[in-house]
Subunit: 328 residues, 2 copies
DNA sequence: CTGAAAGCGCTTACAG
DNA sequence: CTGAAAGCGCTTACAG
């Protein structure tokens, strides 16, 4: 019994011959371990929860797909849980309030505050995703949002943009990494900051992106020639507003988004955007969970980790031949 | 033991007083059943698989969200599995080839053929989703695709369209329900069928939609004044091609899609489309699975069932004020 | 390096 | 209507 178990679980110290015989038997019998029994014996559930605002948002669906795939290799189920951008729902999630018990939590923090984490009583291993940072109280993985935003805005500047709006600048100046990247890029290029071009929004939705850009275009402020939007959805809204105002993208104003959702390449013009390395995101998150579950070796201090991103250049910042040139 | 179990599982025949005492104890102790143990004892895994081509596609993500939510209420986990539109992967899925054993299968059939079902040896309860039909060999739930397509095309006709292209007409004339709906609508309106306007595509992608519409526009065929696309993605590609050709949507050509993915309301112009009732889809699929698991009462004959859909009218078939009128 | 035995937390005939 | 006991299929000290 123990020997078979050792082989199945890949423990060392099994005689080579024995191991082969066991594997051969596994093969001929078609044995597959019963995960319910295993988890029961191990005192685990075999389930980790992925908490996102809404699975239908392609960014989160893509992330979920990655996570499911990589979790499978480690014998975990991924229970997907939606919060609908509700802070209370996110709080309940980090407290592990699920119908079943779970071994670990990966939470895309949208509304969560530092205080919510400080008040957390649950001890379930937790990994946070997303651009917000929460000090050293918790494991956290994300791309370097400041660098990514800087890259996006530098790209616009290289394209000749001089009046670059940021759609989705949060009010809280200090701790918004993307806003910081925007400012850094402007400063590095010697461009003056135009507060009128920093457009806060209430939610990262297309509607909000459209609304604030429309308001900008209808105001007295001189037109922007570039737009950096905090998500692709917001960028789509911004493009809509530009279009409705008779401005051509990218000729009159270039646009860069963030996330690289599938629509980014489907829209007209297709959208230049920042593509986070989702696979790396998923992998690091899972590793962080494992570290907390098996505090073997070193101590499992909460850590931040960043993963790569990429600027994907498409039509919204380059050319957009036939359509626009023909229309005008 | 048995009594507590009875209460927890909602079996009848427990004295009211006893029941209350049990529930009170559950409350004070904070008892939550261990699903691993339950499933082990019941000989189930508690897991059902949802098999889709790609979770990142919003239609499937939305469906998955619905299914997860409703499965939770029935004590099921949903294991999401991606096939990437690969027929072999779909075949493997219906054979239940998953790393863990599963209690039931909900499969969005994309490439699956009737023959694959006939050859199936696995006995895991199975429910098929999607527009393709497979005879009476298997449980199947979908909207009435013929009626939906007819509704979409009738809407275009009402809007004054007379030369309506169908993007995504399959080659196999007979058994494509959406094609049939298209034909029915034309016939009912006394419009002549234009074979040149039926555009087959290799995949339901934006690229393919764009390609075939571009080819149509660049051909000698007279321009269409309406487009019915088999999915929203395809419709987005079609709109792109129209736009690139200098045609205005909806003024020069109105467009209707299918699925009602989130982008449909985010694009410019926003897209008129057919919205299937995803919640109903999920619910019926789960009920069909339960029927197969508990063949109590009547026999569990494979059945087809349809769920409601809705035509969501947006700008791509109505007006699209400022933008286009201004540009021209 | 390997076997025998207990135990994980449920469900389910079986008595009563 | 309710209790005692076995069993689901694993893992894990514990011997050897």
């Amino acid at each position: 019994m123990k020997t078979v178990s050792n082989v199945i679980n890949g423990y060392a110290h099994v005689a080579e011959g024995t191991k082969e015989r066991v594997l051969a038997a596994v093969e001929t019998v078609g044995y597959r371990p019963n995960l319910s029994a295993r988890n029961l014996a191990r005192g685990r559930s075999g389930v980790i929860a992925l908490v996102v605002p809404r699975l239908e948002m392609p960014y989160f669906a893509g992330l979920a797909g990655q996570l499911i795939e990589q979790a499978e290799a480690r014998g975990w189920f991924v229970l997907i849980h939606e919060t609908g951008w509700d802070r209370m729902a996110e709080r309940a999630a980090i407290e592990g309030q699920f119908p079943q018990r779970i071994d670990g939590l990966i939470v895309s923090a949208q509304q969560l505050e530092r205080a919510d984490l400080d008040q957390r009583t649950a001890t379930t291993p937790l990994v946070l995703l997303g651009e917000r940072s929460f000090g050293d109280a918790v494991h956290h993985v994300a791309i370097d949002n400041t660098a990514a935003a800087r890259t996006a805005v530098e790209h616009l500047i290289e394209r000749g943009c001089r009046r670059i709006a940021m759609v989705g600048a949060s009010d809280a100046a200090a701790d918004d990494p993307r806003r910081r990247g925007y400012l850094e890029a402007l400063e590095a290029a010697g461009l003056e900051l135009q507060p009128d071009l920093m457009l806060p929004i209430r939610a990262n939705s297309g509607e909000e992106g459209e609304r604030v850009v429309r308001e900008l275009l209808e105001s007295d402020v001189a037109l922007p020639d570039g737009v950096f939007a905090v998500t692709d959805w917001v960028a789509l809204g911004a493009m809509r507003a530009l279009h409705l105002h008779g401005l051509r993208v990218p000729d009159d104003a270039a646009v860069v988004g963030f996330d690289d959702i599938p629509y980014a390449r489907a829209v007209t013009p297709s959208l230049t955007t920042i593509a986070p390395d989702r696979a790396a995101l998923a992998e690091v998150a899972l590793r962080m969970l494992e570290t907390q579950l098996n505090p073997a070796g070193g101590l499992a201090e909460p850590v931040h980790q960043t993963v790569p991103f990429e600027l994907v250049v498409r039509e919204s910042t380059t050319s957009f031949g036939p359509p626009q040139s023909r229309a005008h």
